[in-house]
Symmetry: C2
Subunit: 148 residues, 2 copies
């Protein structure tokens, strides 16, 4: 594979990622959740199952824990998450989604489904599944960084 092809492929990946991020965020905002940034969505993904600590979140987002702490503070102010005492570690706090946070997460899922729908119409559901499989094999643990 030639270098120029590699660049073209990279550009394609980045274009898809950019469009996807933009569409999902717009979709979430359109559903009435104002003031949310893509980074918040990335945080929600990590918080969704059982909550997480600030340090977990920082590692997940690829930022310092101070930055993660600020992000949590903002989400608390907006009512999307709340800090609870950690069940086994008195130093730590468990950040969990509020009901509003869950609603926002569901909105993001809907927005993602809307964003992906044109792909299915274009390529067919089977091809999209194959695409997803390929991507997961390529970078199963790629960084979810809010900023480049």
């Amino acid at each position: 594979m030639q270098n120029s092809e590699a660049i073209a492929l990279s550009a394609a990946v980045l274009a898809v990622a950019g469009e996807l991020t933009q569409r999902i965020n717009e979709g979430v905002v359109a559903r009435g959740f104002e003031g949310v940034r893509p980074a918040h969505g990335f945080a929600f993904v990590r918080l969704a199952p059982d909550g997480a600590t600030v340090t977990d979140l920082a590692a997940h987002l690829g930022v310092t824990k101070q930055a993660a702490s600020q992000l949590v503070e903002e989400l608390v102010r907006r009512g999307y998450v709340e800090r609870r005492p950690h069940p086994v570690d008195a130093r730590a706090r468990l950040i969990v989604l509020t009901e509003l946070g869950w609603a926002c997460t569901r909105a993001a899922e809907e927005a993602a489904a809307d964003a992906v729908r044109p792909w299915v119409e274009l390529l067919g559901e089977g091809e999209v599944r194959v695409l997803c499989d390929r991507l997961l094999r390529i970078a199963p643990y790629g960084p979810i960084r809010p900023t480049w």
Copy 2:
């Protein structure tokens, strides 16, 4: 396709994009081009063929022209590009890559090839080409935004 699958697919795309951006940037830095950010690479792509104006660049990067102007100023200081009078519009300036800028672009292509190589080994060259084709069909003109 269910909402949860759409989210999984989105996460996969973003993970691949994140890893790719990181690897290319590291590869460029490793080849001796210091102080370059991914955003610079996105600018180089637009400048490479025949140069571009600040306004073109701003549109391409999805930022204000002031921001694009600052980015150009930085690239000029580092010796990657130079401002030339525009051939047909005395208001505008044509930003073109210097020899150093071209060298950096080639380094980025090499780094991209390095980053993509594992994919080829994992999926085979044919599958990767198919992947590229699919991505280009999904978002042929997706935004190349340096920041989310």
